[in-house]
Structure formats: C-alpha cells, structure tokens
C-alpha cells in the first residue's frame, strides 16, 4: 500500500525542513517574500518544524464560565463561523488557510462562546506545550446587543512548535469587548495569530496584543466597522531579541460614517532581531467623518537589529480626520544621562526606560494579565 502523498505525515523526520506538508495542510503554497505582505517575513522557523500535529488541551475544559457566557457546540457555532473572516477579507489568508486545514485534519478545540450579558472576565491559556509540531486553536466570540466581556488570551509555547490561533469576533450594537492577548514563546517556536472582528454601530472594541520571545510571530488583527459609528482601540507591543522576528499586520476598514480608531503599536528590537509593522486603514467614501489615529513607535536597541514600519492609509472619503505617525529611535541619550546623573547605573537606567516604553501598552491589557508578570517575561529582568 502506497501512502497518499497529500495526507499530512504524522510521524518521522523525513519532512522536517520541507514545507510541503504545510502547503498541503493549507491547500496553498507557503507565502513568499515576493508577496508585499510577506516581504520582510522569513518563514524559516516555520519550515523547520517537525511535520506532525499536536492535539492541545482544551483551554475551556478547566474553566468555570461566568454568568452571561455560554459555550456553543460546533453545530450551533457553524452559522457564525467564517463571517468575520469574510468581512475582513481574510478567509484566504495563508495563516487562516493553514488553521482551517489543520483543524479539519485533526480534532482541534473550537472555543465558541456566546456572550449575552455583562459577563465579567475570563482568562484562557492556549498552550502549544513543548512537543514538536503544529498546534491549532480556533476561537469564536459572539457578543449579543449590549453584552460585555473582558477576555485575556494567553497563547504560549515552550518547544519547537507552531501555534496557530484564528479568532473570529462578532460585536452586535452596543456590545463591548476588551480583548487582550499575552503571547510568550521561545526562539524555536512560531506564532500565527489572526484576529478578525466585525463591529456593529455603537459597539466598542479594546484590543491589546503583546508578543515576546517567539522565533517567528505573525499577528494580524483585522477589524471591520460594518456601519461605522463604532469605537476601536488597538494596542500592540512586540519585543524581539536574538534572531527573533515579530511581524504585525493590522487592517481596519470603516464601511459607514463616524467610526473611530485609536491605534498605538510599539516595538522593541535588540541584537539581530527584526520587527515589522504594517498598519492598513481603509476609509472608503461611505465613511465620512471618520476619526482615526495611528501611531507606531519603535525602539531600536542594537546596530544589527532591524525595524520596518509602515502606515498604509487609503482614504477616499473627504470629510475625515486621519492622523498617522511612525518613529524609530534609540533610548534617548538625554533621558539616560538624566537618570545616570542621579546615581542610577546605565543598565538600570536603560531598563527603566524600556519598562516605561512597554508599560504604556501593558497597562491596557485586562487586569488578569498582571498576575502573569508580563514585564518580567518581556524584558528578562525588572
């Protein structure tokens, strides 16, 4: 009997270093650096993976759901699935295809939640563990009118594997979601985190994504304000050192008037690390009186580190306020000298300044994040 060449290999080292199994799973070839969206993103950490699937523990199994929150079965979730991906034009994105293909090939926990009241807070640990291979998670959040939730996601890895997380979020009118993600990996692990959000008028999204320590991290928050008149607050922080690569591509589109966006993305790159940020904002003609502000601030700590940052605004409506800015700097020498002139040693002074830089984003995470010591993990020492 001959093994079918299209089936994912489940054991053995034969396929390591060879991306064919990933392309097969995704049903599409791996992104290439000739594609604009991937031109700075070296996928070698991904292609080095052992070709096998990891079945992760179900993060909801160990959690008592608060009132106002209900877990949906696959069949009740089915009508909702795919909506946010389609709305944010990302159903065909390679990381999404990989997640879908892997989910279909292997039982993967579907974390589908319906929120119908003031649900309070929830902390979910999505752990790829230390096993080699690929772990996938799929999350669906449906917030009904006027409901609210504060959710902290903690994707993590401690081994040579890739964690793929696709989240779909649907916010009804008046719904409020504070969605934090605190993702820590190792230099031999990869993170593909895709978050698609559709917001109805009058809804509010506070999304803060923090990632550190991954050999390769690709984060793609995508938001559609379906009818405008909603509020989106986006915060991002990526810290990379060694030979790590962190890449965030955000996309926000307003399909109605009077939508608001307040976005701040921060990056710290040390050693030979590489940080990429691309922030797309789409303001078509229907989106009059949109008020959008995007700021990217990066801290370059080494001569060999590299930062690519790019705002990408496409504005057709004529009555809008859209501000954007990008800065890349070293630690400010006058700030360092001021601290040193007060007796604070230069490495401690640098640490204080880096902490301050990161805390501006960290403080927007859900309160539950504090108990996981994000600063300590991001910066090594406090």
């Amino acid at each position: 009997m001959v093994a079918t060449p299209t089936a994912p290999t489940s054991t053995g080292r034969a396929g390591a270093g060879d991306a064919a199994w990933l392309a097969t799973l995704a049903g599409a070839p791996l992104p290439s650096r000739r594609q604009e969206d991937w031109r700075f993103t070296d996928l070698k950490a991904l292609t080095a993976l052992e070709p096998q699937m990891i079945t992760p523990a179900d993060p909801l199994a160990a959690v008592d759901l608060p009132a106002g929150l209900e877990r949906l079965s696959s069949s009740s979730a089915a009508p909702w699935l795919g909506q946010a991906l389609a709305a944010t034009a990302s159903a065909e994105h390679w990381p999404v295809l990989l997640n879908s293909g892997a989910s279909a090939a292997q039982a993967c926990p579907l974390l589908a939640l319906r929120v119908f009241g003031a649900a309070g807070s929830l902390d979910l640990h999505l752990d790829a563990g230390s096993t080699a291979g690929l772990a996938t998670f799929r999350l669906l959040l449906v917030l009904e009118p006027g409901s609210s939730l504060e959710l902290l996601l903690r994707p993590s890895s401690s081994g040579p594997n890739a964690l793929s997380l696709v989240s779909e979020v649907i916010l009804a009118p008046g719904a409020e979601l504070k969605l934090g993600s605190l993702a820590f990996g190792t230099e031999e692990s990869c993170l593909f985190q895709h978050t698609a959000v559709v917001q109805a008028a009058g809804s509010r999204l506070d999304h803060t994504a923090v990632a550190g320590g991954w050999g390769l991290a690709r984060l793609e928050p995508r938001i559609l304000q379906r009818d405008g008149q909603a509020f989106s607050r986006l915060r991002g922080l990526q810290v990379c050192r060694g030979a790590e690569l962190a890449d965030t591509h955000t996309w926000v589109r307003f399909d109605g008037p009077e939508g608001e966006l307040d976005q701040l993305h921060k990056a710290v790159a040390d050693d030979q690390a590489r940080s990429v940020f691309n922030g797309a904002v789409r303001v078509p003609r229907a989106a009059q009186r949109t008020n959008a502000a995007q700021l990217s601030r990066s801290l370059l700590l080494s001569d060999r580190a590299r930062i690519d940052t790019k705002p990408e605004l496409e504005i057709v409506a004529d009555d809008v306020k859209c501000a954007h800015g990008a800065t890349v700097s070293r630690l400010q020498s006058e700030e360092l000298f001021y601290l040193r002139s007060r007796g604070i040693a230069s490495d401690q002074a640098a640490q204080l300044l880096q902490r301050a830089f990161c805390e501006e984003v960290l403080r927007d995470l859900p309160a539950a994040a504090a108990s996981h010591g994000p600063l300590l993990t991001l910066l090594g020492r406090a």
């Binding site: 001021y338 002139s341 007060r342 007796g343 830089f357």
Partner: protein, 274 residues
C-alpha cells in the same frame, strides 16, 4: 561661609573640554571648600553650562586637558552615576521629561543608589514614602507630583522644585545648580532659593550657575566668578555680582581683547578684584 581651613571638596585645575571637537572650556580654575557657596556668572555661550555638564560627566563632552579633584580623587575617572553616588549633584537647567517612569520610583531608586554608596540600608517603599513626604516640605511641593511621570507635563517652576527635591533626598556634598532661576516667577524663585538655603551646611558646598543677580539676592554667595570664552575672567566676593548688575558685561569684551593682544597664557590666571 568662608573658612580657610575647611576641606577642599572640588578642585578644578586648567580644565579644558570640547564638544564635537569644538573647544568650549579653555582652562578653568576653581577651588571650592566645604561650607562655601560659589556663583559662576557669564553671558550665554561663555561656557558656564558646559562646566556643569563636564563636572557631571555628560558623555557628549570630552575633557581635553586639566584635572578635577573631588575630595582628592580624580573625578573625571568616574561614570556619571558614580559621581552622583559619591555626592556630586547637577541641578539641570532643563530637567528631562521621562514619560512612563514614575517620579516616586525614580526618586526612590536614585536615593537608594546614593544610600548604598554611603553604607546606609536601602529604603523600602514605605520607609521611602515617609522620607520623601518630609523632604517635599523643603520645596513646598504637592505630593500629587510623586504619582506623575518624571517631570512630564510639569511647569518650569515645578520642574525646578523637583530638582531641589532630588537634591534634598540625595544630600550631595557638592551641588551644581545650572540656571536654576531661569523660567521661574518670583514666588517659585523664592521657594527654590529657600530650599537651597535650607540644604546648605558647613559640610557641603553649592555652585550656582546663573545669568542674573536676582537669584543672588536670595542666596548670598561667598565667591562670585565671571566666565567668558571658556575661562574664569574674574573672581571676587558677592559685590562682584552687584558690580556686574550695574555695569553689565561690556567690560568682558575689552578684557578679552586685551588678553588676545597680550597672548593666551595671561588669561589662565584669574584676575582677583575686590
């Protein structure tokens, strides 16, 4: 207070310094003993702010000649943080805003660095809060400023008060106050000067760098030095400051012309007046 037998805290000999290869200090001589208050006056560009930055160890300035002894030790060998820990303090003309670093934490880390050098135990958060609240009184500062980021959004007067608060906590032996009077209204000036006077003792010394007499109406200097073209041109008592107020700095140009004509070396020796 002048006591000829008081120990020398700072001894500056023929100090020369440059920034980006541009010579700024061209042979500064100054001796400061415990208990003394010195004022260095001079026009913009005379080198007086450079002197303060060189003494504090600002990395943008290169010492190209001369020496500085601090309690008999070569000050120029120390990093800026070591200089602070052993008791040298620079009050900044433009205190730096540091968003995201809490003023209280900054003050605590700085105070503990100095205490460690002095052989005192580190203060924990609670012990430090007690100390800082007591020292706030020196500059009549609102405790609310402790909760804010270092100098962020502070008015000019609040920044200068925060400098003197740091001085009150660090208890330096030699405090160099660079244009501490600039940007202050008269009430803030009184508070800041009052703080400096409270902190002055027979064991420490203060070097005021200033443009105007008005600070010296409130803090009486024992010695006044006039700086021009990177050196001290004249030294005298407090009456020299009054004379400057009356006559302005025009004589400086004549003096510099005379020195230029008479050769450079003559300028290296301060001319004593009064």
């Amino acid at each position: 207070m002048i006591r000829p037998d008081a120990p020398v805290l700072l001894d500056i000999r023929d100090l020369q310094a440059a920034v980006e290869d541009q010579p700024i200090l061209k042979g500064v001589n100054l001796t400061i003993r415990a208990g003394e208050i010195h004022a260095v006056m001079g026009r913009n560009g005379s080198g007086k702010s450079t002197l303060s930055k060189v003494l504090a160890g600002h990395p943008a300035y290169t010492v190209t000649g001369g020496r500085v002894l601090y309690k008999g030790e070569n000050l120029l060998e120390f990093d800026p943080e070591q200089r602070a820990c052993i008791g040298l303090f620079l009050g900044f003309q433009y205190p730096v805003e540091i968003p995201g670093v809490s003023n209280l934490e900054f003050l605590r880390v700085a105070t503990n660095a100095r205490r460690a050098e002095q052989g005192f135990e580190e203060l924990d958060t609670f012990a430090f809060e007690d100390l800082v609240r007591e020292r706030l009184a020196v500059v009549q500062m609102d405790p609310a400023f402790l909760e804010r980021s270092v100098n962020e959004g502070f008015s000019g007067g609040e920044k200068k008060r925060n400098e003197i608060l740091q001085m009150a906590l660090l208890e330096p032996l030699v405090a160099i106050l660079d244009e501490t009077d600039s940007g202050l209204d008269i009430d803030a000036l009184r508070i800041v000067a009052g703080g400096v006077n409270q902190l002055a003792s027979p064991d420490n010394a203060t070097l005021l760098i200033t443009h105007y007499q008005r600070l010296l109406d409130l803090i009486t200097p024992d010695h006044v030095h006039v700086m021009a073209a990177g050196r001290i041109l004249r030294s005298g008592g407090k009456e020299l400051a009054l004379e400057l107020e009356r006559t302005g700095y025009d004589w400086v140009d004549q003096e510099l012309d005379r020195l230029a004509a008479g050769g450079q070396e003559a300028g290296r020796t301060p001319v004593e007046v009064g």
